[in-house]
């Protein structure tokens, strides 16, 4: 019930800013999901530092959550370098060098985690692309790549924490946006849970993120992880995944969910509909491609 978009700039000076590009692409397909909008943005951080984003709510509730988080930071030796509260969210940069999975499960108990990463920051809230930008200044992001998502809520409520993108709980810098429905969700989730992974939501997109992150953690490249996801997941899906250095897509064998891409020397852009791609190049007919059913691919940024 949604629209997705992703962009990766292959080199520094294409004249395109990732934040603005994603806002435009999502505004172009907002009809697919008017309820909430989200962004996964990648901007290189400082060595040894982690960026964390949380939903903390408002007023007292927020104060309590932040206090609880700080206690967890202390306990795990995370030193706060920068912090900021924006609307119902809390952004903090910490110096940290311990076990990330343990740390992230611990902070999960104190507040709702939106993202954790060296370069990843996820921003998501109710409203359209421009509404979310007004609150979070998405257009200021200049990073190398990012994903975006617009959502029409049905099963779950219209709440910021139920919006996308999803972070792969427990794994730094992995994010996903997904259009479709994974029908063997519980089977896959139990498999991962038996191996000790925790899930922050019942959303099938989080499952894909954790699934892929787990594979990569075992040393399997993103590309091969995508290949096995197509075999392992049942249902209809078109999804985009991003890590610190790569983005990729996978599409189910039934080809029930749209996806279209455009690539040139400067960038690769992928979206649910061509109308989003055209927002990057107004007035130009683009040489686009529709990925075939059951296909996947990845792209890396030049480091």
């Amino acid at each position: 019930m949604c629209g997705i978009a992703g962009i990766l700039l292959k080199n520094g000076d294409s004249g395109i800013d990732t934040g603005t590009a994603l806002i435009d692409m999502l505004d172009g397909c907002q009809h697919r999901g008017p309820d909430s909008t989200g962004f996964a943005l990648y901007e290189s951080g400082e060595e040894g530092q982690l960026k964390l984003r949380f939903h903390v709510g408002s007023d007292n509730e927020a104060g309590d959550a932040v206090a609880a988080l700080k206690a967890v930071f202390d306990e795990h030796g995370a030193e706060v370098i920068e912090e900021e509260r924006i609307a119902g969210s809390y952004r903090v940069v910490v110096r940290f060098s311990g076990d990330l999975q343990k740390f992230s499960y611990a902070v999960e108990h104190a507040a709702k985690v939106v993202s954790i990463g060296e370069s990843l920051e996820i921003v998501k809230d109710v409203g359209g692309a421009h509404d979310v930008d007004d609150t979070y200044d998405v257009h200021l992001f200049r990073g190398s790549h990012g994903l975006g998502h617009v959502r029409l809520a049905t099963e779950s409520d219209v709440k910021p924490e139920a919006s996308h993108p999803f972070w792969a709980t427990g794994f730094a810098d992995v994010a996903i946006v997904h259009n479709g429905q994974i029908t063997n969700y519980w089977k896959m989730r139990r498999r991962l849970e038996r191996r000790g992974f925790a899930f922050a939501t019942d959303n099938d997109s989080e499952l894909i993120a954790v699934y892929l992150a787990d594979k990569m953690n075992q040393g399997i490249p993103l590309k091969d992880s995508l290949a096995s996801s197509i075999d392992d997941m049942d249902g209809t899906f078109s999804f985009l995944v991003s890590t610190r250095d790569e983005i990729g897509y996978a599409k189910d064998r039934l080809a029930a969910k749209p996806m279209i891409m455009f690539e040139n020397d400067d960038l690769i852009a992928i979206a649910s509909e061509e109308v989003s791609l055209n927002r990057l190049f107004p007035g130009r007919a683009l040489d686009t491609r529709e990925p075939p059913p059951g296909s996947y691919r990845t792209w890396s940024r030049s480091i």
Binding site: H31, G180, L286
Partner: protein, 657 residues
Amino acid sequence: MVTVDLKDLSTREANESIREAAARGETIEVLNPDARHHIGVGVIHPVDIHVRGSAGYFCAGLTDTPRFHIERNAGWGLADNMYRGSVVVGGNAGAIAGVAIRGAEVVIRGNMGSRAGQVMKKGTLLCCGNANFMAGYMMYGGRMIILGESGERLGEDMTGGEIFLGGDLVSLGSDAMETDIAEDEIDDIRAFLDRYEIPFRGSLRKIVNAGKKLRYGTPERQVRSIPYFNFSGDSGYWNHKVQEDVYIKSQIGRYRVRGYGGARELPHLSDLAFARDIIPGALGDDPVSRVRMHTLIGGKNGAKPLDLTMPVLIAPMSYGALSRSAKQAVAIASGMAGIAENTGEGGMSDAQRDAAGQLIFQMLGGRLGWNIHDMNRADGLEIYISQGAKPGFGGQLMAKKVTKELAEIRGIPAGIDLRSPSRHPDILGADDLVIKVEELREATGYRVPVSVKLGAGRIHDDIKIAVKDGFDFVELDGMQGSTGAGGAEVMEYVGIPTISAICEAERALASIGRRQDIEIVLMGGLRDGVDAVKALCLGADAVALGTAAIIAGGCIACMQCHVGQCVTGIATQDPEHEKRYKPEIEAQHIYTFLESVRWQIAAVTRGLGYDDVRGPCRDDLVALTPEAAEITGLPLCPERRDSGLPEINAAMERALR
């Protein structure tokens, strides 16, 4: 030449300019299309339209006779439902290119996406590059030419038509097979390619339907049928119904297909009673004149609403399941009563259009009988998602009923066991649905309401989608609704009762604060004006009657609708049987019945102390059974069984005598 620049215009404004220019016979140029959706939908004049760039979804959709030239790519649903005319795409086309075309020529110079030509009926779809997954899926007729690779599962579940393949065959779909190609077919194709200046020297192979699936090998033997009322009567584990079921299954070795609805005892409006006694004195002699019953439905988003003399509509019933005469009788009666009729599946006939004062035109997944001209003369457009008797399932029309005339309207081969698909080619989620709704609105200039027919299943989610996708109203159908033909097990066991449907829908809309943004027409097992008022109390804005109208018009409830030999001439396409049906006489009966419904609605409303049908509310109801109380959240008051209504019935007898 007229230039329409999408840089400065909304799609709606652009389409209005395009249609106006087309009506004047001018050539049109569309600048800065930037892959926007719905470009040029609804054009019905033979003009050239040049799209200078790429087009989005449904470009050239719902059109007749124009010639589109799209410089680069086209999105999903290219040339959707196009009658005559042509589209040439310079680049690639997305999924379901040429969906449901009915005579158009569609030429794609590049590749095309999945499920191309789904449910196409006539015309030519040519792809110069490669096709993709399931090209020709469920196609009923016409010709598809693929010069490149076939993609996987070519011709999956095709019923008719031909596919010609120039490149590699990746794999054939189920029930498709290769066959010999005739010289004149090749000549025809060469001529076609020459006409569009497409060089191709290779050889072609031909793929058609293998005829192994989609046929019922063993027909159901006709039995001396027991009427529905015995059929659904006395419960208990062994009874006439079970006996008949077992007997028939022993003959045919599969599930039964039959008409009518489930026969199981389920919570129903009759498990609710009015909280207060009806005050006989308050009724007066003529309650109808003392209650405001006038109802507008469908105007929420600026379209011209249906204008009803009472909050009642006729439920959608297909021409196909019903005979032309029966449809005509219902249409006449609806016109006389000042309410709205609905085409159901299978198209609109002139007789029906003329007789019905207001007519909703229904669109189903097979797009059988769907076309721009009838859309333009409809008073409402309806997207069928599912119905209460068989939510999630497609339609079945047995070969016996698929006559030449009927096949023509539907655009399919005559004499096949016709299964209508359970899904729409271009609606795979709420995100696609919103684009489809917009297409219908764009094609008809936002003039008429667009509604959705929903058989209640996960209605809590579905109704939220309905309001978020911008429908004007929903025709909400519960498990007690009937059908012209459905699998018996599905009718008995799938779905949720009508009272659950309305209560869940109300709760879901309240939970997102959107109740005021959509109207609900409730149906499924409503029998009379008393049921109607209870439905209004539960929150419905109006109700629809299907079975009741048919019975009023002479149906004897034998449940053999699917067989096609209806003795009353209602559910048949056989002229010999249909001859028995006298539409003018039955129309009068249906009309008289509808007037009794009107009288009852007025009398009960008045009796409850209101002078407007919008008055009755939940406070006026109690539940008689624990199940009904649980479902509705109404207080349980079994002691009110039979209270109140005898006065109404007595008064009605007096009034109608």
